[in-house]
Each structure stands twice: as structure tokens, then as C-alpha cells.
Symmetry: C2
């Protein structure tokens, strides 16, 4: 297909697709004339992945480039790809605050993380903010959130398939981390509203 068809199928402007080509987020098509190239379904899939990383996860282009290089690196184990994707979406806040809270909670849960992960710092920032608001930070008090997070994580990691082609599995790792994270956040807000309307139905 031509670039105009690629634009149509992905709902992205041609100028944006050209930008992604220049930035090497999107592999070049097959040249068919001096000014035109032919693209295929892999380009559509790659563009949809880029669009999700930008619009749903709100990641900057430089970060997306890092993630996509990892997706494309056939020699990179999927577990390391997961770590790189985590590093991209983690949001470390208030450096060095709450570290002790996070370490203690993770030890209490028996959850072990990789040695260079930024995830414990992101978790620490949120725990610190909760502690400042007088909330108790321990496995029992935070039980419902811990159980919910663990339950979806088990399913998500279970979906990482090692018998499918690596490129497909890599695509799924990144997608699963980003899109299903956004899904859980949005479903939680929707559920909050649904539950509160059920309980406190306003008088007509």
C-alpha cells in the first residue's frame, strides 16, 4: 500500500508518518519509484503501536524510540524487554523519598525486582504521598490494591508466549504493559462511578 493508505488505516496524518520514518521509529517501505514506497501490514501494526504509546501512555518520542529498539532487538530476552518497557512507563517522583516504605512493603510481600529497575522508586513516591496523608503503608492495609495488581499481573505475564515468533511476543509485551495498564486505570474510574451511583443514588 502507499503512504496515503497507511495514513487512512491508522488515522494518522501523512506528515506524522513521514516524521516517524525520519526518526526511524517506522522501518522504511520498499521503494517502487524515486518518490514512492510500498508499505505492508507490519507498517500498520507498528504505527498502531506507536500511536498507543503516544496517545494512551503519553510517552515522548525519544522514549518510544528506546522501547521500539528493544522490541526489534532479536537478541534481547523478553524479560529484559519487559524491564525496558517498565522503565519507560515508570514515573519516579520525589527522588529518594519513601524508599524505605517501598523496600519494607516489597520485603513483606516477598516480591523481588530486578537490580536496576526504576519501579521501586515510582512505587516509593506514591507510598510516600499516601503516608503523608496519614494512610497506613503495610501489606494488610493495602491488601485490596495489592491483590488486584497481582491478579492482573499474573494474567498479563501468562500471556507472554514463548512459542510464538519473537517479534509477535515482543509486540505483546509492550502492548500488554501499556494498553492493559491504561485499561485497568480507566475501568477503575468507571467502576468507582458505577459503584457510587448504585450506593448513593441521587434523589430525582
Amino acid at each position: 500500500m502507499r503512504i496515503s493508505e497507511l495514513a487512512r488505516q491508522t488515522a494518522l496524518p501523512v506528515a506524522t508518518i513521514k516524521f516517524y520514518l525520519r526518526e526511524e521509529l517506522l522501518p522504511a517501505g520498499t521503494p517502487i519509484s524515486k518518490t514512492q514506497s510500498e508499505y505492508d501490514e507490519t507498517h500498520v501494526q507498528r504505527l498502531l503501536l506507536i500511536r498507543s504509546l503516544r496517545e494512551i501512555a503519553g510517552l515522548p518520542v525519544a522514549t518510544i524510540a528506546t522501547v521500539l529498539r528493544a522490541v526489534d532487538d532479536e537478541a534481547l530476552p523478553l524479560i529484559d524487554l519487559l524491564g525496558i518497557t517498565h522503565a519507560a512507563v515508570a514515573r519516579p517522583v520525589l527522588p529518594d523519598s519513601g524508599t524505605e516504605l517501598a523496600d519494607r512493603l516489597l520485603a513483606e510481600l516477598g516480591w523481588k525486582l530486578g537490580p536496576r529497575t526504576p519501579l521501586s522508586a515510582s512505587l516509593a513516591g506514591v507510598l510516600q504521598a499516601l503516608a503523608e496523608q496519614g494512610e497506613a503503608i503495610d501489606a494488610e492495609s493495602l491488601g485490596p490494591w495489592i491483590e488486584a495488581a497481582r491478579a492482573v499481573a499474573e494474567v498479563e505475564v501468562g500471556h507472554i508466549t514463548f512459542d510464538s515468533p519473537r517479534s509477535e511476543a515482543a509486540h505483546r509485551v509492550t502492548l500488554g504493559t501499556v494498553l492493559y495498564g491504561a485499561l485497568l486505570s480507566q475501568l477503575r474510574l468507571v467502576a468507582q462511578e458505577a459503584v457510587s451511583l448504585e450506593r448513593f443514588k441521587p434523589e430525582d
Copy 2:
């Protein structure tokens, strides 16, 4: 306490606190001289709430102002405050896409939302992105995320207390929506990493 002590207790620069005073996010202190005012614990709490909304939820100052006006409006029912907070943290993407997917899923779940909520549009954006990646969008396929979201929402709404003073309850509604949302997101990433390390322990 003086503004310097307020800065110390909240880890915010004095200039930032003065900005929040000018923008009326923070109520003025009690003047004790031409140039100095006295602040109390309510100012500390308000500043920590503002900091969480900025740093954890990443909300712009104008949005925080809208949320805080709702927190302070004694005449506003808590359920409406929840709706205003939801509108602030919702992330509508790709306008008008996925609306049908969202409506169908909500109908399947029997979840009813308020008439003017932006939440179904946020949910629609994520569902559309998942559908474009070939994921099935129905209550069964998305069961683990739906159950997890509903479980935490039940606990969170259950924590909204109607017998505590309104100002305290209002503070909790906003805090619960924002901070516990961030907690769930971070815990999910941490759990993904812990679960994947357990399952695919890399060879040393």
C-alpha cells in the same frame, strides 16, 4: 507557623507556596504583620493535596483549581465532587472512537454512569486501541481487569464516609481517586516484574 516552616514541612519551595497563594489554590494565612502571615495544619494538608495532584496525577494547575473549588464547596454533594475529580483525571483520547465498544461493554456489565461523565470517552479510547491490536472486547475476555477494577472501586467508595465532617470526606474523595489510582498502577508494574522474574528466572 511561618511560610518558611510550611515550606519545610511540605518540601515545597517558598516561591511555589506564594504562587499557590496568588492563584488561590491555598487559602491566605492570618496576617500577623504587614509582611508576615501565620499558617496552620490545614495549610500543610492542603499543600500536600496540591502536591499529590501535581506530582502523582500530573494535573495542570487550572485543573487542580477546579477540583479544589469543588472540595471547598460545602453545598456540593460528595457524589458530584467524585464526578468532578473523575473529569479531571479522565484522559479522553481519539475523540468519538470506540464509543460503541464502551457502550456495549458497560451494558454487558450493567454499569451505569452519570449523564455528563467524560469517563466513557476515556474508556472508549483505550478499548478502541485494544481492538485495533486484535484484542477481544467483551466482559469475558477482559474479566481479570474488570474484576480487579471493581474490587478496588468497592473498597474505595466504601471508604467515603458520610458521618465525618464534609471537609475531611471531600479531601478523602479526591485523594482516594488520585493517589490510590497511582498506587494500583505502580503496584501492577511491580507485580508484573516480580511475577516475570519468578517465572523466567534468568540463568546466572
